[in-house]
């Protein structure tokens, strides 16, 4: 099947000539208007990213993709910075590696990255020792976290490093929100907002280290504007948002992605005809996604396509993929 990726970049008003720049000592020609990240990747250079996703407006908040541009006072985020003629770029200089290392250490010392794909390798590659900031502090209760106002905070205790550890939010049957794993990449907010779904059920709330993804008044998702399309789940890079079957299988130690068969099919619910990738483990659909590199869906589905597969599951399997519900 052919799939094309629609680049999310500003359409060029006039056709501009290609741009020549130097990346890591090599002269590279890039289309005008593309980002440094795109130019680097086209040149075969790997730049680590976390908040960036091709289908979303670059938030450039994680700062993992920073590169050094000669003449710039500070490092620049390659995911959103456009190429300019004559730029001299270093993607792996000591300054760049230092910033990436610290960003990774900051995240690893404050957020649970255990389900972030590729993170373990990155932490090794950049020689990270997040424990050098001290032992992780005890998780906070939901009420404690909600009570963190803006402004003066309690002085830090000298024995621990603050974290965002907190209980899992499980307020609906379709997906869970484990904000202890949230790196605040803004992807879910963008997917819920103008980039994809236009539901605006969630936004950033609070400020600084207490900033968080929240519904209005911190109400549960059933009382919010959420339509359960799960497009936030699809874009979450860390597993903070996770469909219930995957969450429960992981909790039971039974999540085995290497054994899963992924089959692309067309969603049967309506006439739009979205491509759905069904992830099957032990003959049970354990997850449904849509390819990001698809011109129509760009990874998006609706509540039915993403979560409505119980009717094609063997009866026993439905129970086994949802142990929590089965136990009730």
């Amino acid at each position: 099947m052919t799939a094309t990726l629609i680049p999310i970049t500003r359409p060029a008003r006039t056709s501009r000539p290609p741009v020549a720049l130097t990346i890591d000592g090599r002269t590279v020609t890039a289309e005008a208007g593309v980002t440094l990240l795109a130019a680097c990747r086209a040149a075969g250079l790997e730049i680590p990213t976390l908040c960036f996703l091709e289908t979303l407006t670059p938030a450039n908040v994680c700062r993992l993709c920073v590169v050094e541009v000669e003449g710039a006072r500070v490092l620049v985020p390659s995911c959103s910075r456009e190429v300019e003629a004559g730029m001299v770029v270093h993607t792996n200089s000591p300054r760049v590696r230092h910033a990436r290392r610290l960003v990774l250490e900051f995240l690893a010392s404050s957020v649970d990255l255990s389900t972030t794909p590729g993170m373990a390798e990155l932490l090794v590659e950049y020689g990270c020792h997040p424990e050098r900031f001290g032992a992780s502090a005890e998780p906070q209760s939901t009420a404690e976290r909600a009570a963190v106002g803006v402004g003066h905070h309690e002085p830090p205790d000298t024995a621990h490093a603050a974290t965002v550890a907190q209980p899992v939010l499980r307020d609906n049957e379709l997906f869970v929100r484990d904000y202890a794993k949230c790196v605040l990449c803004y992807r879910c907010v963008q997917a819920c907002g103008v980039d994809h779904q236009n539901s605006f059920a969630i936004a950033l709330a609070g400020r600084g280290f207490a900033a968080r993804i929240s519904t209005e008044l911190s109400v549960g998702l059933p009382d919010s504007a959420c339509v359960y399309c799960g497009n936030c789940v699809a874009v979450c890079p860390t597993g903070a948002l996770m469909a219930v079957p995957e969450f429960d299988l992981r909790a039971a130690g039974a999540w085995r992605p290497e054994e899963q068969a992924v089959t692309d099919t067309i969603c049967p619910y309506c006439g739009v005809g979205c491509t759905v990738s069904l992830h099957v483990q032990d003959n049970v659909i354990v997850k449904a996604t849509s390819p990001f590199a698809h011109g129509i869906t760009q990874g998006n589905l609706c509540i039915k396509g993403r979560f409505g597969w119980q009717h094609v599951q063997p009866e026993a399997a439905t129970a086994s993929t949802a142990p929590a519900r089965a136990a009730e």
């Binding site: 908040v61 700062r63 910033a99 605040l184 709330a205 900033a211 504007a225």
Partner: protein, 639 residues
Amino acid sequence: MDIRLPDADPTDAEREAVDAVLGAPTSRWHGGARDQWQHDTHVGHGGRAMRQRRTELVPALQALQSRHGWISPGGLRYVCERLHVPPAEAWGVATFYALLATAPRPRRVVHVCDDIGCRNRGARDVIAAATAVAGAHLGHAHATAAEGDAPGHPAGDAAGSATQAPGWMPSPCLGLCDQAPAVLVTDAGAVPEERQLGGVTDDVIRALLTGAAPGADALADTRVPQQGDASLVLLRRVGVVDPTSLAAYRDAGGYRALARALDLGAEAVIAEVTASGLVGRGGAAFPTGRKWDAVRRQEATPHYVVCNADESEPGTFKDRVLIAGDPFAVVEAMTIAGFATGSTKGFVYLRAEYPLAHQRLHGAVEAARAAGLLGDDVMGRGVRFDIEIRRGAGAYICGEETALFESIEGKRGEPRTKPPFPVQVGLFGKPTVVNNVETLANVLPIVLEGGAAYAAKGTPQSTGTRLFCLSGAVARPGVYEAPCGTSLRALLQQAGVSPRLSAVLLGGAAGGFIRADETDLPLTLEHARAADATLGSGVIMAFDDPDDLREAVLRIAAFFRDESCGQCVPCRVGTVRQEEALHRLATGAPLGGVTAELALLDDIGRAMRDASICGLGQSAAAAVDSAVRRLGLFATTAQ
């Protein structure tokens, strides 16, 4: 936009407060009463016109805040209904700003400054007295209130909060360092009141927390130490000319600069400003003429002028003095900036903590408009320009120009990535010139005397005079005006510096410390740069006690943690890790030894400086770094 509103109703008072800002609702679609609009259910409202009203979000939330002392779920609902803003986004905005509360607060809140300027000059006693009278601060009380986690009105209804006993909260710098210790009193109600008080004694704080009237604002009588000095340029009228009278301002030479600018023409004005060598006085020191010229040349319209009066850099209070003491000068200079850059609309973004400055500036704008000095036909010369004042809501980050735009646009004050720069894509996505208050004040003498005459003052690279905010261990704190190139020592002596001076904080929390033996530094951009220091926003805070100094460094680290917007990882987590490491050093419990901790601090600082989105994160380690490197503060004391 199809939005789902919270299941809560506003009180009548909340409706009135919001309507006073937004106007009466025009349909049932936007919060109008059911029986009032019977025939409009088939008419769609929304789209572009509605989206453009998003800019009114923060003023509407502020109206709720000053009505009941907090933003109730019902009030939030009504604002969302009126402006068609998704509640989650409005909640995100309401929870971003320190002076907006989303849990019940007493009608009166006393914000007690415990920042670097006040902390060592009486704030501790004020806080002790406040705690004795009113108990723990509201930040702590809030923790208990949120325990239930259920949104809703407090017992009775929101208006019931009026009977609650006053409460207090610690506050970041209130910009009254010359009158430490300082407080800001906010009284919510039908007629909300706000006052800044300086020189607060135990008796005053006790009276405030038992409900006594706060008395006159500390700025009511704005004075500067050099008052009457004939060489003053920027401070010439402060304390001398009635700031509430347009006639007095004109008698004192006011509006001659605008008349001359209109005679010269826009391009000639920009040429003069460029020739003057004027650079931004807010801290970044960008050439003003280049900025104006860049905006003038942009094809996209409209253009905007923004006066950045969100002066929140700890230790800085010059803009407060300029606005409260000479508000018409700001209005006149902005009008010149608007004329020169082809802008018809200007915004002043004034920090919320300056109620009297707001009152004076508001009066000046009204008076200027009434006299035809603002509006569709400025001075009868066919020039269109008007000014709108926006008040901050308690966020240091909104002094960052792009965060300021976001705030005016009704969003969280999260800085944008640059490029594109504001001169190309600024407020509402349009070309925008952002100037600090003091920068604008300099425009008047430049237009009157010519750029060359202005440039003759100061040094070739740092022209003109500058304002410096002297505070701390000095006998005569206040705003001083001095030609660029004046030595730091001369200024300190003029202000009566303590003979035991041990260090000076130069440039504010985002600046750095220098040693007492380095005070022969001439105050210019080039000398500061050569000495690896910065003039920043003109802060000169003197310290003569080692304990105070350590306390100040810890406070600066806490300040940046509090004020980080939380958007990017290096700043959001880096400011936390920096403060934790400093506390371990300060309490003699370094992890892996002092050397390891200092190396860790250095690692954190470099990453914040290199990889943060905006100037806040990029300079969050500057003062800490200088305290360690220049003063040897934690290395020597902890070993």
